[in-house]
């Protein structure tokens, strides 16, 4: 496993339809387990689909399916442009 490169970009910073690769997950405990089990692992490719009408939460495409999560949680997933 490569040591995670420092990345300034969070999942919540992506613009609509922008793609990125997950590098690191700074969450812990319950959220970390939830995210891992839903496929938010380093190396996974993600795509920002859209914001909710009120800008929060956001909709993400990952592993060929759609997930919604709040910005506060997406903040903890650091990504890198592919």
């Amino acid at each position: 496993m490569k040591p995670p490169a420092p990345c300034a970009l969070a999942l919540s910073d992506l613009k609509q339809n922008e793609r990125a690769v997950i590098r690191q997950c700074t969450a812990d405990g319950l959220l970390k387990q939830k995210l891992l089990s839903m496929g938010f692992i380093p190396g996974a490719e993600v795509r920002m689909i859209r914001n909710a009408p009120l800008r929060d939460p956001i909709e993400i495409g990952i592993h060929n399916y759609l997930v919604t999560l709040r910005r506060s949680e997406a903040q903890m997933i650091r990504v890198q442009a592919p």
Binding site: M1, P3, C25, G29, L30, L31, K32, Q33, K34, L35, L36, S37, M38, G39, I41, P42, G43, A44, I49, R50, N51, A52, P53, L54, R55, D56, P57, E59, H63, N64, Y65, L66, V67, T68, L69, R70, S72, E73
Partner: protein
Amino acid sequence: MTQVALAGQPNCGKSTIFNMLAGVNQHVANYPGVTVDKKTATLKHGGRTFTLVDLPGTYSFSTYSLEERVAKSFLLEENTDVIVNVVDASNLRRNLYLTFQLLELGKPVVLVLNMMDVAERRELEIDVGKLSEMLNIRVVTAVGAKRKGKQELLEAIAAAAREKLVQPFRIDYEELETYIARLERQISSESKLSRRWLAIKALEGDDVVLDRVSIDRASIEDLTAQIHALHDIDVDQMIAGLRYAGADLVYHKCVKEKPGQSETLTSRVDRIVLNRWLAFPILGLVIFLVYQLAIVWGYKLTDHTWPLLAAVRNQIFSLLPDARFIEVPLLTDFGIWMTNSVLALLNYIPIFIILFILIAILEDIGYMPRMAFILDRIFRRYGLHGQSTLPLVLGGAFVGGCAVPGVMATKGIADERARLATILTVPYMNCLAKVPFYTLLLGAFFKPDMALMMFFISTVTLFIAMIVARTLTLTVLRNRETAPFVMELPTYHLPTLKGVLLRAMQRVWLYIKKVVTIVVAVAVVLFVLLQYPGVAPEKMAQFRAEADTALADFSALAESTAYASHLDEPHKIHTLLNLYESYRTGRLLATSETAVAELDQRYEEKHPQLFPLLRPADPEARQLNRALRNLSNVSRSLQMQIKNEKISNSYLGTFGRALEPLTRHAGFDWRINVAFLSSFAARESAVATLGSIYEQGRTDASPEAVMAQDGTYTPLHAASMILFMILTPPCIATMVVVKLQTGSYRWMLFAIAFPVTLGILLSILLFSLGVHYGWSGLELMRNFYIAVALLALGLGLIKTKQSGWQVGKTH
């Protein structure tokens, strides 16, 4: 008996596979102590009996959500012989993540590739033979919604149950394998489960497993820290990563994707349904349709079903012993009370059927999580969840819902704190049964301002609900477990008729079974509290004397007529009086001339001697008929007075009086107190009780008119009563579902005590202010409305430090 557990990730179509296998032969129960449904079914195949258990949908066995805990503990505790792993064929890669964990359990696994039609539409070519070979287990293809693949699946289950264990595909955890092997040695060999699985779970720090294999948490934490230091590996992340890598490997070997595939239907629909500008109008339309179809049309439907129930009711009433002038037998009183209590609830069944069908359709289509997506931001401000929308709407966000389906619909909310807050908030919505009470008071005291008052009533509840939710989540619910808002938006599916009907009917049946039985029990208690200790003997003697005078007058009159021989004993007069009353009811119901003729014929045949008095032809009979009408009025008036005396003297009446010193400040006298107390059984009783207390024998005037003329109450009193009714505790039926959904009597008691306290305090406060400043009823309501609205908006604007789910987590 072979036990088969059905496992799979959410949205893989597990329930359609279950329905396909089980048909209508299924049984729904709650897992012991939790609110997650357990569906079981027994089926026979090839001379063997299988018990099929539907486990809750789970993404993996590693997190702590309620569903995953339930699924895991089931696999730990029970003797499962075969695991059927349902997999969404169009989403194979992610689904394999769970499959690998199921394989690690060491039980025979049958993999069902469900939704093959969707996969075909997406032009995914799945090599089933290769998949079966790689995983080294049986793989069956199916389309659950179209009942395709049932036989093959049954064969595979039977074959898997028969044969010895094979060595299935195994994830290689690389550097971690040494540690897994070390933990395996520490685990005692008694367990039925695979030691490897237990060791992996232990390494993941799974509390349930650690408990079972008696390894303490601290040593695992030491171990993971050690691994981190030695190999620079985060254990959780590495395990998840390797499982996904394994899934990738299997996927690429077994599935061929057509490149450049076109946009899916789901993303095209979502572009409209979740559009920034269209999302809210569409959501509004959906909610309006649910409301219109279920509540408005369902209510209209009860106009057609009510006569059926009324016929049943009259049938029961006709079996009860007749009254003897003013003496109504206890059995008759009891029978009428119980019948009315149960029918009041059964009357709503058409509404529930439509409502549950619509909910099932929305669930199956996949719109529910999208609703949460759209509204989460607003609800989160008040400690609720995007998924709170539907429960609140069902509870009556517009005027007229029902808290029972509302509370039942909270089941899907993943966030425990938000779920409890929603359960405790739904009863504040305006339920259908509160409407008659409002109409009664508005009709009596707010005739010119009815529309405005109704607007206040119907919208203030939403603000109150938000304030209550916010207050509860900041106080008593502060430490409840919350869940991160990470939710799949499933692809859209067409619901199947059978699946929808099956689920709707199961929920209706659950309602009838649980709610009606408890309501019956409480109705008995209320009956006793309203009947006993009964009217004082001296008071009763007074009523009897009045009755005897009236009877004596009548028999004196009858003596001089040709009918004397039929009326020379009291019991004959009683019979005649009951006959007169039932005939009069019959006449009221007979709408055509032929119906009247039929009725006449029936009575004439049965009672040839007395019939001329019912339909008088000669002057003598006419005179007696008039006297009979008087006698009937006297009897009704006396019965009513006795009933009032009984209520006033009853335990509940005494309790109502005892509360008067307190409730007086809110403007409630004992009669109102009794009405509120009895409304607990079913809201309708509030109106019925008030009606019966106010009728006072003046049967012609409507209760509205009587209340308005009575002079005891002013519009200010009425506004205070409305205010209390808005906040009043949920009815018993709701309490039962609150108990079911929270799994605790303490929350049920809290759900009663909190609104009562709040209601009485606010009523006292506002009524006293109203008296002091000389407000009118409308002004009281308006001021209350403004205060509540401002408070709700204020609470919504204040940002607290709590971010997302992290506050109050238990781990």
